[in-house]
């Protein structure tokens, strides 16, 4: 049931060895193997190279490889630890680990900060927050006046920007997120806890052959 023979991983680089990944993350070895099935499906969906390209990521999220989305871009960049434009299995598992229900809150808080720090300045600036809210509103076909968006961003900054310097630094973010844990709900995927149980559906639906990486 979803067991992968060790010979399939024979050629895997050390950083992608399931035993090592299991050791370094909250996932068990069988959970890593289940993730591998998902990874295979995504990474072979367009380019058959065993690596997740941006288009394949977009395809997996939106059923549309061409769909551009601010958050998909940010997530992809953060998952691409080696900054080489693709996500390999090791990066996939290590990044998804942040979203495991049992991963410490501090890691989720830190990841969320980097996610929202769009330009990587080390601060979440007002313009970045404004841009993110706009992006969501555009996606959802909801209409809000510029004034309303300003008000929402203003209110948020009043609560989060404790030293009123116009930007949210990591400490202010930590304090804010700790006081409002609901803010981090997008940083947990409860599904990851049951991935081995739920996995058979991927095995059944996947058209991917057991190709070697």
């Amino acid at each position: 049931m979803g067991c992968i023979s060790s010979k399939q991983f024979k050629r895997a680089a050390e950083h992608e060895d399931p035993a090592i990944l299991a050791k370094e993350t909250t996932f068990s070895v069988s959970e890593v193997e289940a993730l591998y099935e998902l990874f295979k499906k995504i990474s072979h969906s367009i380019f058959k190279d065993g690596l997740i390209h941006k288009e394949e990521f977009q395809l997996a999220l939106f059923r549309n490889s061409k769909k551009k989305n601010l958050f998909a871009d940010r997530i992809f960049d953060l998952f691409d630890l080696k900054r080489n434009g693709v996500i390999d299995f090791g990066e996939f598992v290590r990044s998804l680990n942040i979203f495991h229900p049992e991963t410490p809150l501090a890691e989720k808080i830190a990841f969320a900060f980097r996610l929202y720090d769009l330009r990587g300045t080390g601060y979440i600036e007002r313009e970045e927050l404004y841009e993110m809210v706009l992006a969501i509103l555009n996606e959802s076909d909801l209409l809000l006046s510029d004034d309303a968006v300003e008000q929402i961003v203003d209110q948020t900054f009043k609560q989060a920007d404790l030293n009123s310097d116009g930007k949210i630094d990591p400490d202010e973010w930590k304090a804010f997120a700790s006081k409002n844990p609901a803010l981090l709900k997008n940083m947990t995927l409860p599904y990851l806890k049951d991935i081995t149980m739920a996995f058979p559906s991927f095995v059944l639906n996947s058209g991917v052959d057991d190709e070697e990486l």
């Binding site: 998902l38 997996a60 992006a135 996606e139 909801l142 929402i152 803010l183 997008n186 599904y191």
Partner: protein, 125 residues
């Protein structure tokens, strides 16, 4: 009546359908949002009125038992609230029909913009 919970921009981001990695994994749940400038009491009264009309239908025709819907109202600004409607139980097709017909028609006077079609994921309300 208790004041609705205030949402800040990060709440909106965290609840957003745009940002949801669970789409990598699972089947969609059903949830939708719309904005309203109406009073919360009016919105709730309207929702109850619409539900009242539908519940008789549901007990007669529902395949998965009664359609159960939950709704939450969040304050965005002093003038604007966001209403979140999700399916709690029942047949998904029925829920979508409800959203497209009774809900849209009933809420027409109260929403700021057109109701978006029921889309996408997440653990609900």
């Amino acid at each position: 009546m208790r004041r609705p919970k205030s949402l800040n921009a990060f709440d909106i981001i965290a609840s957003s359908l745009s940002f949801d990695l669970s789409r990598l994994f699972e089947e969609r749940g059903e949830r939708m949002h719309f904005m309203s400038g109406a009073l919360v009491a009016d919105i709730i009264a309207k929702l109850e009125e619409i539900a009242g009309m539908v519940s008789i239908e549901a007990t007669r025709n529902g395949q998965k038992g009664a359609l159960a819907i939950s709704s939450k109202v969040f304050e965005l600004t002093r003038e604007l609230v966001m209403v979140q409607v999700c399916k709690k139980a029942g047949n998904t097709a029925e829920y979508r029909r409800f959203c497209d017909n009774e809900l849209k028609a009933g809420m027409r006077g109260l929403v700021v913009d057109a109701l978006p079609p029921p889309v996408d994921p997440d653990e609900c309300c």
